[in-house]
């Protein structure tokens, strides 16, 4: 009895809940007024506002988005949102951050983004901040032209005049030594054995891969079909072979034909001929073939040429 009494409050429960709903909505409204970024995400969540998207071939997508990706999204993207600003999509970029929008369409002077990227590097507010690669004058020009033309999601590349030429970025391959080691593991013992028996002929193409190259040209005529056969265990990984000036003959045709990764083959000054060439025809990976000083005829090379394989032969030396 004494552990339980009747509730005696001031408001009925339903009224209270209504009050809570009202106050909460008021609170969210105030938050939206104070934080525009929050306002936008709420509106988009309620589908009261469509998420603007940039066309795939628009100036934004082709020229501006890659710049943001290279210089900005490490701190203003999915992983981190400094100052609640994201620049990894058109919608986010236009939405702005904690202190309001950073891009004002058509108004370069009042676009905070433009101001930040053109500040001197010593300024505390300069973007990207010290330690990150700054934007080049050409890149700043691209962004300026885009904002000046209305920061549109649809305007085409050609429609914006005077943009600096798009320079292709060169991607240096990722260096994953551990993965290369794992890939090399399967043939490692064979490679070791062959390196001992034929020192200096077999090498990995790069430290980053398990692909291999075989260069027997230094051995001259002493290197023959039997020697090439010794490399049979590693043929799955051979991408380049140089047999210039060696003693191999058409007898190695079947061995060479069974190399699925072979891209370049040099047979200059060997006693090989059309039989070997014919055996190479099914090799899909082959990109270049040197037949200078061999017995191969132009006719037999025709089918390889037709497939796009670059053939170097006697005819090239005028």
């Amino acid at each position: 009895m004494s552990d339980n009494t009747r509730a005696t409050g001031y408001l009925p429960a339903w009224l209270y809940l209504a009050l809570v709903a009202l106050v909460t909505t008021l609170g969210i409204a105030i938050a939206m007024a104070l934080r525009p970024a929050f306002a936008n995400s709420v509106l988009e969540f309620l589908h009261l506002q469509a998420t603007p998207q940039a066309a795939r071939n628009s100036f934004y997508a082709v020229r501006v988005a890659p710049l943001f990706e290279n210089h900005c999204i490490s701190c203003h993207g999915e992983r981190r949102q400094k100052a609640a600003l994201r620049l990894d999509s058109y919608a986010f970029a236009l939405r702005g951050g904690r202190h309001g929008t950073v891009i004002r369409a058509g108004d370069i002077k009042h676009s905070e983004l433009m101001e930040r990227i053109t500040l001197p590097p010593s300024d505390d507010r300069a973007m990207p901040p010290e330690g990150k690669t700054p934007l080049s004058p050409d890149e700043i020009k691209v962004i300026r032209l885009w904002i000046g033309a209305g920061a549109s999601p649809s305007i085409k590349v050609a429609a914006i005049k005077g943009a600096p030429r798009l320079v292709r970025d060169v991607a240096i391959p990722n260096f994953d030594l551990a993965q290369a080691m794992r890939q090399r593991a399967t043939l490692a013992a064979e490679v070791d054995r062959l390196s001992r028996r034929y020192p200096g002929l077999l090498s990995y193409q790069s430290r980053n891969s398990a692909d291999m190259e075989l260069d027997a040209s230094s051995r001259g005529a002493a290197f023959g079909d039997a020697d090439l056969k010794a490399f049979a265990p590693v043929t799955s990984r051979l991408v380049r072979i140089d047999l210039s000036g060696t003693g191999i003959t058409d007898a190695s045709a079947s061995l060479l034909a069974a190399m699925p990764a072979l891209k370049a083959l040099r047979l200059a000054n060997t006693k090989t001929g059309d039989n070997l060439v014919a055996a190479l025809v099914p090799l899909k990976s082959l990109k270049s073939l040197t037949e200078t000083g061999t017995g191969a005829t132009q006719a037999s090379l025709a089918s390889l040429r037709a497939r796009g394989v670059t053939i170097y032969g006697d005819g090239d030396a005028k």
């Binding site: 060169v170 790069s206 030396a317």
Partner: protein, 496 residues
């Protein structure tokens, strides 16, 4: 131990201040580094460093990532050819021929020899579109023109040096001062030598006339161990001076001497740890192996007469043509970095052999056929697809006629011009049949797609399978790079 002032000095030099501090601080430093507060190292950074056994400095190493180029043939046109007479077509300049150079182009600029107000001068030779690509070339290089669709002509090269030696050092070592490692040394350091019986880096020299030059530091190893320096070979006479044994010394006796010297050097290395000691061992051993192979490689009489004729090579003489043929033979034998220097392109117009109307003609004549023959041969042997061929000087020449001392000169010439010059590339990974970049109407400044020397180096290293940012050697407290400390970029437009 026999007391020796020399050895004592070696020992003292080995005990550098840095080493002393290192040993002293080793205890505390090691404790700090091992503590939990140590920042984790950048992943993969140490994996990229070249790790070499100092006793086998020339052992071949694969590059970090798959290369397009496996060897480089660098044709340095020493003295610097006039791009306005060869590759950079400026029809506007012809209109201004003979007129005074505008003030704006002279104000605040420093010239090597021009003083006062020189006169503008249009190209002395006619230009035309060539090959399938339609690249502009003058009529001075008719043989090279046949290969124009394989060439990537860069008309927007830039340097900041206006004198020969610093400019050559910049192009060859990445820095205008002596002491830095040359391009070939870097490549040999990074890749080793494919053919253990020949040097990995060979230099050959020819000339049409004398030119001021920086000399041996251009192919020196700088701060890299000296085993990586370029070896100067000659196409006539002894391939390498003093390579052969002296009269009366047999090969077996030479071997005995070398073995004894090896033993002493190894002992010194164990004691002092100076990598130069084992570099010396490696060089002696290399010289011993070279005795057999170098003469064969450099002997152009082994080539059939039609090949000699194609190059214009004459055995027994020192000539660019002979050097080109040797270069091809060396390329076939696994030498990774071959450099040909041809001096005499410095067309100031002072002596007759340096006038645009005489000296330049001679230089073109001496080199054009052989350069073209080299490209042809490399192509037919399937070597061009993985050989990077580079041709160029150290700066450009002015659109103004040189007026040394303010006087009109006897022969026609142009002064040094760092603001714009032309080079061409061909071969591995290079997009042929194109011209990159452009200068203004007068050919004075680069207005489109400038390529700094360090950008060219970055691109070359990329083609060889190296990241120019991480390919470094620690020296004097800095991780020294070929491209230096200023930001460089790989010029993607040049790549196929």
């Amino acid at each position: 131990m026999i007391p020796s002032p020399f050895l004592d000095q070696c020992r003292l030099q080995a005990d550098t201040r840095r080493q002393f501090l290192g040993w002293g601080m080793g205890g505390l430093g090691a404790m700090f580094l091992n503590s939990a507060l140590a920042a984790p190292a950048k992943p993969g950074a140490s994996a990229l460093q070249i790790k070499r056994d100092p006793t086998t400095p020339l052992a071949p190493l694969p590059p970090p990532f798959a290369p397009k180029a496996r060897r480089v043939i660098y044709l340095h046109t020493g003295g610097s050819p006039s791009q306005l007479e060869l590759f950079d077509y400026k029809p506007e300049l012809i209109k201004y021929n003979g007129k005074d150079c505008p003030e704006a182009l002279l104000k605040g600029k420093r010239f090597a020899f021009i003083t006062g107000v020189p006169k503008l001068m249009g190209a002395m030779y006619p230009f035309h579109r060539s090959g399938k690509s339609g690249a502009w070339m003058s009529d001075r290089l008719p043989h090279l023109e046949k290969h124009v669709d394989d060439l990537c002509i860069i008309n927007s090269m830039r340097t900041d040096q206006f004198n020969h030696a610093p400019a050559q050092l910049l192009v060859q070592t990445g820095d205008p001062r002596i002491g830095h490692a040359s391009l070939g040394s870097w490549v040999t350091y990074g890749l080793g030598s494919q053919n253990q019986n020949l040097p990995g880096y060979i230099v050959m020299i020819s000339s049409s006339s004398t030119t001021a030059n920086a000399g041996k530091p251009l192919w020196g190893s700088g701060f890299l161990p000296s085993v990586y320096q370029g070896v100067q070979c000659r196409a006539a006479g002894e391939p390498v001076l003093y390579l052969d044994n002296p009269k009366g010394v047999s090969r077996a006796q030479r071997r005995e001497v070398l073995d004894a010297v090896d033993e002493i050097n190894r002992g010194t290395f164990r004691q002092l740890g100076n990598p130069e000691t084992v570099a010396r061992i490696a060089q002696y051993e290399m010289a011993y192996r070279m005795q057999l192979e170098a003469s064969d490689a450099m002997d152009i009489t082994r080539e059939p007469p039609q090949v000699l004729a194609r190059y214009g090579a004459e055995p027994g003489k020192t000539s660019y043509a002979n050097n080109c043929l040797v270069a091809r033979r060396l390329a076939e034998r696994g030498v990774r970095f071959i450099q040909l220097y041809h001096w005499g392109w410095d067309s100031h117009g002072t002596p007759v052999d340096q006038g645009l109307n005489v000296g330049l003609v001679d230089c073109c004549h001496a080199t054009d056929q052989a350069t073209a023959a080299l490209l042809t041969d490399l192509k037919s042997k399937g070597l061009l697809e993985d050989t990077l061929v580079v041709w160029g000087g150290e700066f450009g020449r002015t659109p103004m006629q040189e007026n040394r001392g303010g006087q009109e000169m006897k022969y026609i010439g142009r002064d040094h011009h760092p603001a714009a010059f032309s080079m061409w590339l061909a071969g591995a990974g290079i997009k042929g049949g194109m011209t990159h970049g452009a200068t203004d109407d007068l050919g004075y400044d680069v207005v489109r797609d400038p390529v700094e020397v360090r950008d060219l180096h970055a691109t070359m290293l990329y083609l060889l399978g190296f990241d120019y940012r991480s390919f470094s050697y620690p020296y004097q407290g800095l991780d020294q790079k070929l491209t230096g400390v200023k930001p460089a970029r790989i010029v993607s437009d040049l790549l196929a």
